[in-house]
Amino acid sequence: MLEVRALRKSFGGRPVLGGLDLDLPRGGCLALAGPSGCGKSTLLHLLAGLVPPDGGTMRMEGREVPSLRGRCALMAQDDRLLPWMDLLDNALLPVRMRGEDPRRREGEARELLDRFGLGEFLRYPPGSVSGGMRQRCALARTLLWGCPLVLLDEPLSALDAFTRRTLQEEVLRLQGEWGRTLLWVTHDLEEALRVGDRVWVLGPGMEVRERLVPPGPKPRPADGELAALRERAFRALEGSRG
């Protein structure tokens, strides 16, 4: 679905991406983990076309494109909800922006928000709900976006362990149902191993330190095997610092 070659970007002389290659097959989920400040968010912004790259090419379904603008959904690291709309309207924003009548998708949005535990808060403005609730709303908005490729920047970072697990499953279920392709940035190794069918651990400059393939189809096998992988990933992160 997506092929990225030699993507480069530096900010004011400080290189962030030094020639990244990336392939996303349709329907997969690539999970990216890496030290804070290594350039994960920058990569997603480059892909989405919010920031111009210094070099490199992107091919989407064989055709070269300048960026994926209009071809991908993005969940940024901060929620970016509009403070003057309630959660439901915020979640329906991509529908409205597409020019569709939001009422036609309202049922779907209500159901999704309900499953995300926001059923009682549909009419609350973002300023009156908790950080985790805002994040869940932003995730719902991203999923209602309707693009086959979805870029997620730490989508569950503000959620407790249990809600997080629930939502991981929810997102993967929808991915399967709706046939989405995911690029999932997370700093939680367990999450990466749980949701990715490939997991890359990155180092500074977005150099790929470790490529892990979690065993077997979801739901995941015993925790023991995962723990070992997690340990390996952790060592890679640790090494990338030294």
Partner: protein, 265 residues
């Protein structure tokens, strides 16, 4: 309780300012034809109330119409300059010109085009209101939150949809600020308009009183004008509280309450 105290404090300050004015008049021994004392003005206000009110109503009508017109034009021009930023350099001198043009450069044109009816007054009011509103609106549109804008752009959709959902609400606080300036200067517009041809209105009254050297009547008309101006300001302030509800917790709470009350019906 707290609100009551606030009001009392406000009233106290107001009285203090009046006392200061009275003091200036007496202390500096200013003759009443230069600056009448508040007491003198109050006497005129009382004795000539019906006339002042009648003329005030005329001027109020002109101001309200002018404000609406100016606001509409400001929304259009502010939005237009935002959509076409290259035009700013070209259009700006024109706008500055309309502001700097002394009435006597505009008055003949306005009279020839609009005659002596309400037209020129409304046009001049609209002109003075327009400017601060348009600039504040433009400024608000420019200093938008880039992160949210980027995301909305990714969602695609027309510029108009984006403008309505994002840019417009985001620019509401400065817009309302500009509108406050606008309604405060609206009296100037109406009065100037009345100077270039009128037979009614507070501006006309002031001119008449001035020719009769009745400075206290000038100030009485001015007082009525000020009450009208502050009244309009208060109205805009209320509107702002209602429209820009999301910045303060109380505002959000009230909004939620209202929504729920509506939902229940």
């Amino acid at each position: 309780m707290a609100r009551l105290r606030d009001r009392a404090l406000g009233l106290g300050l107001f009285l203090l300012l009046l006392a200061l004015w009275e003091g200036v008049c007496r202390g500096l021994d200013l003759p009443p034809y230069l600056l009448p004392s508040p007491g003198r003005v109050a006497r005129v206000l009382l004795s000539q109330a019906p006339e002042l009110l009648a003329h005030g109503a005329v001027t109020l009508g002109e101001m309200v119409l002018g404000i609406l017109l100016g606001l509409g034009a400001a929304l259009l021009v502010g939005g237009g300059l935002f959509a076409l930023p290259q035009a700013e350099r070209a259009v700006l001198p024109l706008l500055v010109a309309t502001q700097a043009a002394p009435v006597f450069a505009l008055a003949p044109l306005l009279v020839v085009w609009f005659g002596f009816g309400m037209g020129p007054k409304v046009a001049l009011t609209a002109l003075v209101v327009f400017f601060p509103v348009a600039l504040a609106f433009l400024q608000g549109l420019k200093h938008r939150d880039r992160g949210r804008e980027d995301l909305l752009r990714l969602m695609g959709g027309g510029r108009i949809a984006r403008f309505r959902a994002f840019h417009l609400p985001g620019a509401l606080p400065p817009l309302m600020g500009g509108l406050k300036t606008g309604v405060c200067v609206a009296p100037i517009g109406a009065v100037l308009g009345e100077w270039c041809g009128a037979s009614r209105g507070l501006g006309f009254l002031m001119l008449q009183a001035n020719a009769r050297l009745a400075t206290d009547r000038v100030f009485a008309a001015l007082a009525v004008l000020v009450v009208l101006g502050t009244g309009l300001y208060g109205a805009v302030d209320r509107l702002e509280r209602r429209l820009v509800w999301w910045t303060r917790p109380e505002g959000r709470a009230r909004w939620l309450e209202r929504r729920e009350r509506k939902g229940r019906k």
